[in-house]
Symmetry: C2
Subunit: 464 residues, 2 copies
């Protein structure tokens, strides 16, 4: 949440602005070097576009490492926008200092032309590292892995391993030591703690853990995150199709994936999606939201055919029309609540094959109780409306009120049944229930609800 800046942050921001105006870059860099990259993002958002560009131009020229650290911590969407405004040269200087996976991520969100121009301006070896990642499909392990992984040959001893660790400079998140054979096939893993616990001349092959959990470059990122979370891993090694160690996915990327996927699920349930990150076009939004609206539309049209079929009934008691929205609306709400409980239960494993029947019976119970409560409420409410507001005599208002109330109860129960059975059925068929459930629940409720309501009313009026 964008909390307002505190006093310290305001002071820092004001100094940054002053130094920028005066061109006092040495002071500026000095100040920024004391700021945690993660705490920089809220300051950045407060600056004008001009200040943002001037600041990062200066960083790219004088301290690209610091600039890169700030760049990757900006709010989602801000980074690519900045790169575009900086132009290829400064952007390339900054990206050269980013981890390859972060650089690839930022470039992916730019137009192809812009990304190409920046890549061309990068130093060949950095460019090669990033391009190597861009080969992999988005949302796979290959795309989110870091290729900088600390691996050692199996014939090394503990003391050789420690020496190697001391020599190699920047190893990202070196919590594990991966052990490989002469063809770079992963054969074991050690924690740094294992190195400390064994005598210096022990061979890595003697103490390494060979019970490996790995993923492949084409493993879906959601699957990678699930495996890391399940086995409580800080990093997962990534193998190519020959079984060679080519990188690792670290826990911070896993957390990002889990958050992204949660957002995706939430959006899916409303029939929309987190559109392009940078400047989401109106047309793109219209396209993404349309399928869900088409479903609502078709449901609504079907309901209007049903209602049209009952015109003689509506003509006799015009007051009935007033209760169509509440009967359908309550059904829709009850059905969707159930659907979401079931969908999320399936996703988190709370609802599984063993408890299907029990979950289902439970939902019916909930529906019956809710239907009765709100049916009674509506019967009372509609009697009041019909009798006192529309002036219908009590002996004619009462049966109509009973019809309205019992239709509500029935439509809520039917909607709940649909809301719990449909996700289970989709899940069995291997379709993600999050995408497809809610519009169908709404549509079915609209059609069935109006059939129940006007059907009951017609029957009753024929009897009276």
């Amino acid at each position: 949440m964008p909390a307002p800046l505190d006093r310290r942050q305001i002071l820092v921001l004001e100094s940054v602005r002053r130094f920028l105006r005066r061109g006092a870059f040495a002071h500026l860099l000095n100040l920024l070097a004391k700021t945690r990259p993660q705490d920089f993002a809220p300051l950045y958002e407060e600056m004008t576009e001009r200040e943002q560009v001037a600041l990062f131009r200066a960083l790219a020229e004088r301290d690209p490492e610091l600039g890169a650290a700030f760049l990757v911590e900006l709010a989602p969407g801000s980074g690519p926008g900045l790169l575009r405004r900086l132009g290829p040269q400064p952007a390339a200087r900054l990206l050269e200092q980013c981890a390859d996976d972060d650089a690839a991520d930022l470039l992916t969100e730019l137009e192809e032309e812009e990304a190409k121009a920046i890549l061309e301006a990068m130093r060949p070896e950095e460019k090669a590292g990033v391009e190597q990642l861009l080969i992999f499909e988005e949302e796979t392990a290959g795309r989110i892995m870091t290729p900088e992984v600390f691996s050692l040959p199996e014939h090394y001893t503990v003391s050789e391993a420690i020496r190697e660790l001391q020599t190699r400079g920047s190893v990202e998140m070196a919590f594990y030591v991966y052990v490989v054979d002469e063809r770079n096939h992963l054969v074991g893993v050690l924690s740094l703690r294992d190195l400390l616990l064994h005598p210096p001349d022990t061979r890595l092959s003697e103490i390494m853990n060979t019970d490996l959990i790995t993923v492949r470059t084409d493993t879906d990122q959601e699957e990678v995150a699930r495996i890391a979370a399940k086995y409580d891993l800080i990093a997962i090694p990534v193998l190519d199709d020959q079984g060679r160690l080519v990188g690792m996915v670290t826990i911070d990327d896993v957390i990002d994936v889990l958050r992204e996927e949660a957002t995706e699920d939430i959006f899916r349930m409303a029939g929309t999606s987190e559109e392009e990150r940078i400047e989401p076009s109106i047309w793109k939004s219209v396209r993404t939201r349309s399928p869900w609206l088409v479903a609502t539309f078709c449901g609504g049209m079907l309901a209007s055919f049903v209602i049209s079929g009952f015109q003689p009934t509506l003509q006799r008691v015009v007051g009935l029309a007033a209760f169509i929205p509440i009967v359908l609306g309550m059904g829709g709400s009850a059905g969707n609540q159930t659907a979401i409980v079931v969908i999320r239960g399936l996703a988190t494993g709370r609802i599984h094959e063993g408890v299907l029947l029990r979950s289902f019976l439970r939902e019916i119970g909930v529906a019956a109780v809710l239907g009765m409560v709100y049916g009674l409420l509506l019967a009372a409410g509609s009697f009041a409306t019909l009798h006192w507001l529309s002036g219908l005599p009590a002996d004619r208002a009462l049966p109509v009120a009973i019809v309205v109330g019992s239709s509500l109860a029935m439509s809520m129960t039917v909607a709940t049944l649909v809301g719990s059975l449909l996700p289970l059925a989709l899940h069995r068929l291997g379709i993600d229930p999050a995408i497809s459930t809610t519009p169908f629940v709404t549509t079915t409720t609209d059609v069935v609800g109006s059939l129940i309501f006007l059907g009951l009313a017609t029957t009753l009026l024929a009897v009276l």
Copy 2:
């Protein structure tokens, strides 16, 4: 997702059952020792209650450590149910071998009586550790932390630290070494890698990092997770109100919190919640889901008053009633889609103070386009229904169709405005938009939508 068991799993399951029947516990334990705890859960779910209890009784008696490892990895909700069925003695044996925070978690989900009986049966020192955690409020750092944290006095040297690390047996996730002063105040932190990189006689105080990120026992777990994710920490030290180091929250717990909170958000948006974990009662569900339904109900009742007020219009063109659901339904869908985009944007930081106006204008644009497209579609559809289905002459059906179509466009636009402004307003007021937005969007759409629709129709009929 509950994937079907593969062939290996089925073989293991069959063997487990056979060994259980025969009472061949040595074979049983041998087999289970080769199974990863995380892979055990799906097998467990396939067993009968009797088999589950028999298996864990045997584990509690013969290998409680393995039993505990299996217990904490069961599907959410299964663990507490099992403890209850095992009875206090075997349950206590298993919990003694769990990490204190896991044990506290499992006990929290039992009835107070049951939890107390198990606690009483535990060894005093294990009981004390768990009870100490149970003092803290649920959903705080104190509750999810592990009190077993590896800390050393600041005057220690690197070689002393390494020796200490080698002596102490089971340190959970020892990636960091915390450095404390003589009163156990946290003064610095080191990674294991730092230990390897410095000469053996260096004092910890010389090489430790003093730029500490900490939380307190009463920090909300969501805040803890946010901090860990933001600063890419594998563990966060937890301090008491005197600044003393009392535990740490590890990354696996952070991931659990992030998942839980995502689930909570999803449920809130549908006006329900993840009820009690074990045997959720129908009454509890009814109570949780009611506030949202009450909002829908009130909206529906208001809409019926509005519609009742337009009875003369409905009497003149009964066909109009058929289009009430589609006009209100499309408004509700469009409004809620917008609301969810805005709510999630606020939660993830994509939408912040700096881009409010831009986000808002964008949503209006989307609404206008969607409204026009579906308005035209509905005008065509309603003309067809009125003319061919209800037999209204074309020259009377056409103006009504135009009214229906333009009402839809207007009601979708209004709903989108409400759907984007309301979450922003709630957010400004410091209220979580996820809880309160959707029912209000639906209610407002119902009332405003029917006003627009029947108001337009009445005006038109007066003119014609």
